[in-house]
Amino acid sequence: MRDAFVAELTRLAEADPSVMLITGDLGFGVLAEFSKRFPRQYLNAGVAEQNMTGVAAGMALTGHRVFTYSIANFPTLRCLEQIRNDICYHHLPVTVVSIGGGFAYGPLGFSHHACEDVAVMGALPGMRVLSPNDPIETTACTRIAGTAPGPTYLRLGRNGEKKLHSALFDITSGTMIEMHSPESMEVAIIAGCGALDIAMASQELLKNAGISAGVWSSPWIEPFDQETTLRLARSVQLVVTVEEHSFFGGLGTRVAQACATAEGIVAQVIIVGVPREPMHKIGDQQFMRDQAGLTPEVVANRTLLALEHKAARR
């Protein structure tokens, strides 16, 4: 995702000289080429995220379109009030980019686990929240961040994620992407925050168990695709959300909130996400996902169990 982001940012910087990349002293080996090619559009603000974010606001007030760049929680939580007051309140075209959303930096420990970022950024007024699920979605999301008005939070993984789409496409504002939509669908799985691979593997497991499940990818967290959510929730037994993010305040919360305030909902909502408690045993991304119960097996088992309960109640 990181390389896809930098490649698209390079295209944006070439087309628009007002595009500016400010890093909080991170991006070793990733940003060097950009900095050489666009020296006037690149700035290393040092390890000082509050100042970096304020500087971004000041530059945006003076006609620039700014990307701030760092990893995990540094560009978001460390300077949260600067994002809220300086960027969001003034509705400035600043994109906050975080590399390593979720457990991408798993072995580095709790400080580097970014599992509340989407909840926090998504609560800020006027903040667009984009959390692509693969490198192709990353390209499309970066393009939106680089051209749309107002602030954006762009939550990325790290690198080496598999491409889950076959071709590059433009994503429409606030809409989910249909990955798999079988006939007589019983379950709809909506994936966000980098968990589309889990959702797709869950769908395979369910298929083997005789359950017909569809899969949607939701790189948009804000604005959120209520329309598709409600259409699905009115036609299937279960809507299952999967996200590499706290189960609180991210994709699942939005799906549940949409369903709770609409009429004619038949589906039950199951939210699969990261528990709120810090995890002290560390390991790579897969290890952390396993610990958090964020696996295709868990998604499939919880789905089957919920379907059984539903059938028993009938």
Partner: protein, 279 residues
């Protein structure tokens, strides 16, 4: 034609400062709001900036070549609103709505719908990083505009300022000018008893800034101190001020950081200001 003539030199800073003070007492009384002491402290700084130094156009608030001003000590917003109204950015009558229900003139500085305000503040430690970003953007496009940022002394407790002090000197932002309203009183107690700042001039110099010190109530001294940088370093002016300056019973007082002038106190404050020789 690029007309860089300052629009505001016709105003006398002494006259403007007195008007700011009277507005501040009236506004905080009408709106039953706090921070009148903070406004009185920086009234002469605002008056000198807007009457003598800032290149602005009240009829064209977003003029791209204007000088920028950020009131980082946003709690003294009444002072900035009064200054802008006196300059003609918006009608003076609007000041009466300050801190009232339905008004956009809130207790801390806001930009929305208020011509002439470059940036909204209210939480301390935000103005200088943003000012540094503006100055950086202006510098890389070789613009001649200056960016002025007014900080309070208590605000210097915020670490974000010191990140920005490092940033501005590293990038040689000689187009930024920071003014510290050094009245030596912060929210609950004197600065020296809270988090001591001294030796402050040494700190600024150690951070690579051209540090100047002056009497923050002497308009001529302020004008000299606020002159453009002599070299490539950014400029910081330590303006020695008196909190509550201009109203005897508000001077040097923590109480008037919070208290709103009502009844006899309002009358006494206004009478004292009216009696101030206007020359």
């Amino acid at each position: 034609m690029n007309d860089l003539t300052p629009v505001v030199t016709k105003l006398d800073p002494k006259d403007l400062a007195l008007r700011i003070r009277k507005h501040a007492v009236r506004m905080t009384s009408l709106g039953r709001s706090s921070h009148v002491g903070s406004v009185l402290s920086c009234a002469d700084i605002l008056a000198t900036l807007y009457a003598r130094l800032m290149r602005v156009r009240p009829h064209e608030p977003l003029w791209p070549d204007r000088d920028r001003f950020i009131m980082s000590k946003g709690h003294a917003g009444a002072g900035l609103y009064a200054t802008l109204a006196e300059l003609g950015f918006f009608p003076i009558e609007r000041l009466d709505t300050h801190c009232q229900n339905g008004s956009t003139l809130c207790g801390h500085v806001a930009t929305h719908g208020i011509p002439g305000v470059d940036f909204s503040t209210g939480s301390l430690g935000h103005g200088l990083p943003v000012g540094a970003g503006i100055a950086y953007a202006l510098k890389i496009r070789a613009a001649t505009s200056r960016t002025f940022v007014l900080l309070s002394d208590g605000e210097l407790d915020e670490g974000s300022n010191w990140e920005a002090f490092l940033f501005a000197s590293h990038h040689q932002l000689s187009n930024i000018c920071v003014i510290v309203d050094y009245n030596k009183i912060q929210s609950l107690a004197p600065v020296s008893e809270t988090l001591g700042l001294e030796p402050l001039m040494d700190k600024f110099r150690a951070f690579g800034w051209e540090a100047r010190e002056c009497d923050g109530h002497d308009h001529k001294a302020l004008e000299r101190a606020l002159a453009p940088a002599s070299d490539r370093a950014p400029v910081v002016v330590l303006a020695n001020t008196i909190k509550g300056c201009g109203v005897s019973f508000m001077q040097h007082s923590v109480l008037w950081h919070y208290r709103t002038p009502q009844g006899d106190e309002f009358m006494a404050a206004m009478a004292e200001l009216e009696g101030t020789p206007n020359a």
